[in-house]
Assembly symmetry: C2
Homo-oligomer: 306 residues x 2
């Protein structure tokens, strides 16, 4: 089996060496224009030239869970697109979201401001029942996050396009379910894939339906959120705050209002990072299974977009 | 059954009314000097005069988990002392400690400082395996906290005076076990009861045995920690930081170095607050069971101190 590796934004060599070590029976090399045709590819944000050059590919294995950037390309016609399932990302996502939920619920930002003034003052504890958490997107990451939040005894709701059942989570689906989901959610967590259906899904019309003083946590893609709508609802007081890890433009431009808005916490797309070793191990397993004709998890439906 | 209620630092009336509603068969009233003798008492930090006045008490039910302040009094000779078991406190403790662990592990304080400068910059993810979390005290609260931290895939260790087994937690006990426990711990969480054995248990000798760059989370009692020893080890660089919710003197005096130390996070004894409704319901259940001669949880061994 011949494998080509094309990763932008990162050093390619450790990925090539790692995959070669995991698949000694294969020939693994870095893609360069005019490289010999390969059977499979391991990629992160490859350029269009890569696809044009490797039209014969049978499988493209993405080193991340989100394939929105990849599906924007004109891909080789027969290539099955496979995304990363978990590879240590779901636990990172769970801890990042739980941290944000707890920090908001327990007013730990406010306590930190008190600390800066050496002020010892209690805040009346709030009731968990008043802070239902709603998770949009119930894939591997969304389910793990929903259950982690539920372990802290928050009421947890979930929404997905097609009906799902997750233990300990009240599940909603489809367009009708979306209204009910929003109307009972106080802390909204976005873990959706980015598709034509979900682009801009957090906008004035939808965010207005959340419970008063709602809080928004976006750890999916910047394009899920209409940024000006969020800012307006924060300033109007319907929303209490937001923790945003992803943005329409990344890096977030220095002049963007999010940086300085007192109700917005900004982190630099760091909620769940690809862990190289785990990712390579998973992709190697899948390439082997796929080449034997065995079923593998994470095969992307190109029409649905995830 | 006649019940007297004596709570300092808080309004007594809602406690009296709440307990009366939960136990309509009893006579519940607020304690005042010279009040008629009662069978049971519900208390929080009562004065010595209360004990002197109510020598006939058969049971004293504390509205908190920690009974160190209560046991400093000369108590009525026959009174069984009963502490609060959980009553909504363990979930608060779990979320508070998980927040502190995640915030430290994921360097979210540093990201927040970056945000203040509109700086978009990644930090290399750390390995969970390098951050073993050690929980001292494996009672109801300690077990819940240890398991909550373990759910985020940190290696978790526990230490208690007598041997215990907690699923998913590597348990140590006694003096010999304490050395091993400390030597493999990077994030130390204190949830011990305050007794003569545990007073000052976090001091230069013990904290020096932690892994380099250790982090200390104290959510038990201020007197567990020798504050100057912690400050010295922070300044010498052996410790990376501390999240402290309890202090030798509370409120923490405005001039205390903890307020301004860049490696110390201060919160005002807020990690787990007594929730009135849950506490009253639990105490009412226990009073009823105790008066029928049934066994109840949370009976304090006055000699051990918890």
């Amino acid at each position: 089996m011949r494998i080509t590796v094309c990763c932008s934004d990162t050093k390619v060599a450790p990925w090539v060496e790692g995959l070669q070590a995991a698949l000694p029976e294969a020939e693994v090399s870095e893609w360069k224009p005019g490289a010999p045709p390969a059977d499979y590819a391991m990629v992160w944000s490859p350029p269009q030239a890569f696809c044009d050059d490797q039209q014969q590919l049978k499988g493209i294995f993405n080193t991340g869970a989100g394939v929105d950037a990849l599906l924007k390309l004109k891909l080789p016609p027969d290539a099955v697109v496979v995304r990363l399932d978990d590879a240590g990302m779901s636990v990172q996502m769970a801890e990042f979201v739980c941290h944000a939920v707890i920090r908001h619920f327990r007013e730990l930002d406010a306590y930190e401001r008190d600390e800066a003034q050496a002020k010892w003052g209690f805040r009346k504890p709030k009731l968990r029942a008043d802070f239902p958490v709603g998770v949009m997107g119930l894939g591997v990451l969304g389910q793990r996050v929903a259950q982690a939040v539920a372990s802290f005894e928050f009421p947890v709701r979930g929404w997905s396009r097609s009906p799902k059942q997750v233990e300990g989570v009240e599940c909603f689906s489809g367009d009708e379910g979306f209204r009910q989901f929003l109307a009972g959610t106080r802390i909204l967590v976005c873990l959706l894939p980015l598709t034509e259906d979900t682009r801009g899904i957090m906008n004035r019309a939808t965010l207005s339906q959340l419970l008063p003083q709602a809080y928004v946590i976006n750890v999916a893609r910047g394009a899920h959120l209409v940024e000006d709508d969020l800012l307006a609802l924060l300033d109007e007081g319907h929303l209490a705050g937001a923790a945003l890890d992803v943005f329409r433009t990344e890096p977030l431009p220095p002049e963007h209002r999010f940086w300085t808005h007192p109700k917005v916490t900004v982190t630099p797309h760091t909620s769940a990072r690809t862990l190289r070793e785990e990712s390579i191990a998973q992709i190697a397993r899948k390439m082997r299974a796929f080449s034997r004709g065995e079923p593998i998890a994470g095969v992307v439906d190109r029409k649905k977009g995830y």
